[in-house]
Amino acid sequence: MSIEGVPNVATEGLRSEASLDSADTALVRFLGTAESEAMPVLSDLLKKLHAGLLSSKVREVTVDLRDLEFMNSSCFKAFVTWVGFVEEVPAEQQYTIRFLSDPKKHWQERSLGALTCFATHLIRVEN
């Protein structure tokens, strides 16, 4: 089931698919590469995702990055900003973010490690 107000993205380099996979959990999958031309679309998507997750009262969202080949710092910033949005809402409305990463894509371990340090109470990373 789709998340209200959250479109699937299909740019030249980046694709995403978002859905509710239970009453209080959601899944977002990213594929391709997240580079500068994708940044405005990604930024907009994450804003809408945040709003959609709050209105759906989701407790946890899984972000599957296993098919994301690369992410530049501009797109990484979009994720940092998103985590900041989650931190700003009252604790009882916050949801956790579970990243699925590919250990063969070494940048994911380092970037997601940095993001986890940014908000340890909200983020966890699994292979």
Binding site: S36, K77, C117
Partner: protein, 208 residues
Amino acid sequence: MGAAGAAIWTVTACGLRLGAHTLNACGGGTDGGRRLLPTWAGEMDHFEEDAYVELNFSPNVRLVGTVRRFVSEFYAQVIGDGEIISRLAVATHELLENAVRYSLDGNTTARVSVKNEPGAFLVTIDTKNRAAEEKIGTVRKALDDLAKAEDAEKYYQTLMRASAKRTDGSGLGFGRVRAESGMPVTYEVVDDVIHVRARARFEAGGKR
């Protein structure tokens, strides 16, 4: 230059085989009808390497990913360690993207080189481009602040906090190179040309 955003490339390489193409020229290269940047002739321009690839190109941001994949193949040929290659791909991408954003005339020279040492690789990534005084000031401040930071990871977290409020770019690029790629970044300015260098020694097996 042809259509807006068209890319003009010259590639100079030494000591490597890239895909189906063997590049044998060490030095030289044509200007593709464009004025190239000044030759590598500043204080930082002393090269001792076993393999390098140098690209003079008229870039746009979209081309940076293409260059990252191209030089990643170079790294794969001469280093072969996936962990190191990944670090270098991130560093190359971020430095090139900065160079593209700050370039005054659309020309950028990028050079990546590897020197083999016993059990290790000394890797250097250089970018050089002309930039407006204001942009040079921005790069100076970013790199001076980065150099002063004693803990690269903590400073990266500080940059991440600040980036969430920024509207003009992420401000994370150089910090990412330092923290995630493990490469200190230095720079030199000669007239209106800024030369940025990331360099680190990586042990074979992925450690820095």
